[in-house]
Subunit: 255 residues, 3 copies
């Protein structure tokens, strides 16, 4: 009875014209957020979910990919489950989530990846998603030969003389194996890597990976929106520090 | 009986002149710290709580604000509860803690803020602190017009051409809404922001926010003490990397 | 019955010559890693534990020291227990683990150290390792006088004018007490500090501490392997950003 009464009341309010809009405002912030930090509730509902997630400059699937990448690479395990559910709803496939974690093991360290697995396993179990198959006969992607030659000559010059094993692993394992795995598209892999670099405050590697992402299909408008979105998930300063790097890469591609 | 005997023994020792001082030494380190890492117990009791927290260069309330800001912005959830209790004891109001978390959502990312809410909620429940009221008719603060014009022209020049949405959100949401909220004084808001930038290793944004903090009333002596205090809560390297930034900002304000 | 059959089958396979090698491949990745992110399982078993941990450029005890240092300094509590067990197996003494945590309180902040204590305590209890004794009459190490004079004159010039308390604490507490504690050898202390600086992305302090580590006996080959190993525990970008610093320090020591 109470439920029926409540739903009538809501319908009445929802029908009330002028007030109707406020009932479309998403209510994503959990009650405890509004109780402890009502300002945070306001910005969560009105700006982050009421505006940013709806912006068309980046597809919801891309927003989910970079959000999960930011959470994994900064070790925010408490939020991983919720955003993996959202990512699945936004069209990211379970195998892509596993592969994104694999990519981030290399780009933000094993501990973050292993802890992410624990969180994702709970969501997969909850949704009845079975074990992922390794490889399954999918042949590795061929990387573009000219780009690989250029990349290797940088490593040869700047890493090999000082840290030869790191250089060799970079060539053989990262680019000879990880980046060639077909379980995640090159564009998505770049997107996750770029998000991890911005979120963890590593601008040094960003020019290389932003260029690679754009070679893999990311547009300038999307790249700027990645930084904007990550302002919310890794803090404004990380986003702001990414801007001059984006500016230089954009200018370099015009020249 | 044992208790009485023990307390007589302690009184006797405490009365023993020369030994008296060592019984005033705070015992903050939990037993497990002394069992696993006795050196850490020594530095915790003798230096961090026996000396640093007592230094008069920064008020206990300010130390609590920057400690909680450092913990929230670096995601150290395990220590948030204890330091929020201390902050309340040092005069930080519950509503100010909620608003500090709101500020840090923007300056260190939503996940840190949401996880902090969970920890703070437990302390509020424990102390019978009810839900905070949103707004409650408090009018927003007016920011100083000349400073705002200068700030906006920097954004216009350095962010808008590359990431227009990030620039627009910075102007409308961060400075048009967040920084104008009266729930936290401008000085406290600056202090929390500055602490987050030092603790998360973001020196790029520190000159702007240190200048703003000093415009909002922070003295040079207090600013140096913020860095010193944060050496303990975010590590010596973060404090040391802040020093040249402080030096440049101090010099710039003299010129 | 099934178990017996299975074990016969395995023996048969293990005896099968050509296949024998694959049974020597370590199986370190837990089942959930293979289920959620099979690629991560592959890299964990075949590269990280099947190759990197076995490389002779750095002793297993050193690898354990820097791994635990990376985990503590980046706050990866979920992995600390497992790697502390491995460190004990690799010859790190319980007292050295406690002292490493004490060192990292200063180099990555108190919260990381306190949270590490909680994890280490569980391992110590599990292995029946009793409370560590503080000091126990071990006299402090004397630091090399010329190096100390040089270090203090840098602090005097670059820190004292801006942050006098930070300078004074650096001289009296860090170098006058912490670095002189005999519970950890100077080389191990340097190794842990260097690992923390690389893992937390603090290249500014790395030249000083890498030089100190090399003065304390770390070879060039070991230093490069530290960066390589940390690529896996703190992410490739942190390792890559350390390379130019290593290069400059190596060059500076030749001149």
């Amino acid at each position: 009875m109470k439920k029926i009464a409540a739903s009538i009341a809501i319908s009445a309010l929802a029908a009330a014209g002028a007030e109707a809009q406020q009932y479309q405002r998403p209510r994503v912030a959990p009650p405890e957020v509004n109780q402890v930090a009502p300002g945070l509730g306001h910005f969560t509902d009105d700006v982050l979910f009421g505006e940013v997630w709806l912006r068309e400059e980046l597809a919801p699937r891309d927003r989910s990919l970079i959000t999960v990448a930011a959470l994994v690479s900064t070790g925010k395990t408490a939020q991983i489950g919720g955003h993996v559910r959202r990512a699945l709803d936004n069209g990211v496939k379970p195998g892509e989530i596993g592969e994104l974690i694999t990519q981030l093991a290399f780009y933000s360290g094993w501990p973050n990846a292993i802890s992410a697995v624990t969180e994702v396993k709970k969501v997969f179990d909850e949704r009845g998603i079975g074990p992922m198959a390794e490889g399954g006969g999918v042949p590795p992607i061929d990387l573009e030969a000219a780009a690989e030659t250029a990349r290797m000559s940088i490593i040869e010059r700047s890493v090999t003389p000082t840290a030869p094993a790191l250089a060799e692993l970079t060539n053989r394992v990262l680019f000879g194996d990880l980046w060639r795995r077909a379980e995640l598209s090159p564009r998505d892999r770049s997107l996750a890597t770029m998000a991890a670099l911005i979120a963890t405050g590593q601008p040094e590697q960003l020019p290389f990976h932003l260029n690679r992402a754009m070679d893999n299909g990311l547009t300038r408008r999307e790249a700027a929106e990645v930084a904007t979105h990550l302002g919310f998930y890794a803090g404004w300063p990380r986003a702001m520090s990414a801007v001059p790097v984006l500016e230089r890469v954009f200018a370099g591609r015009e020249a």
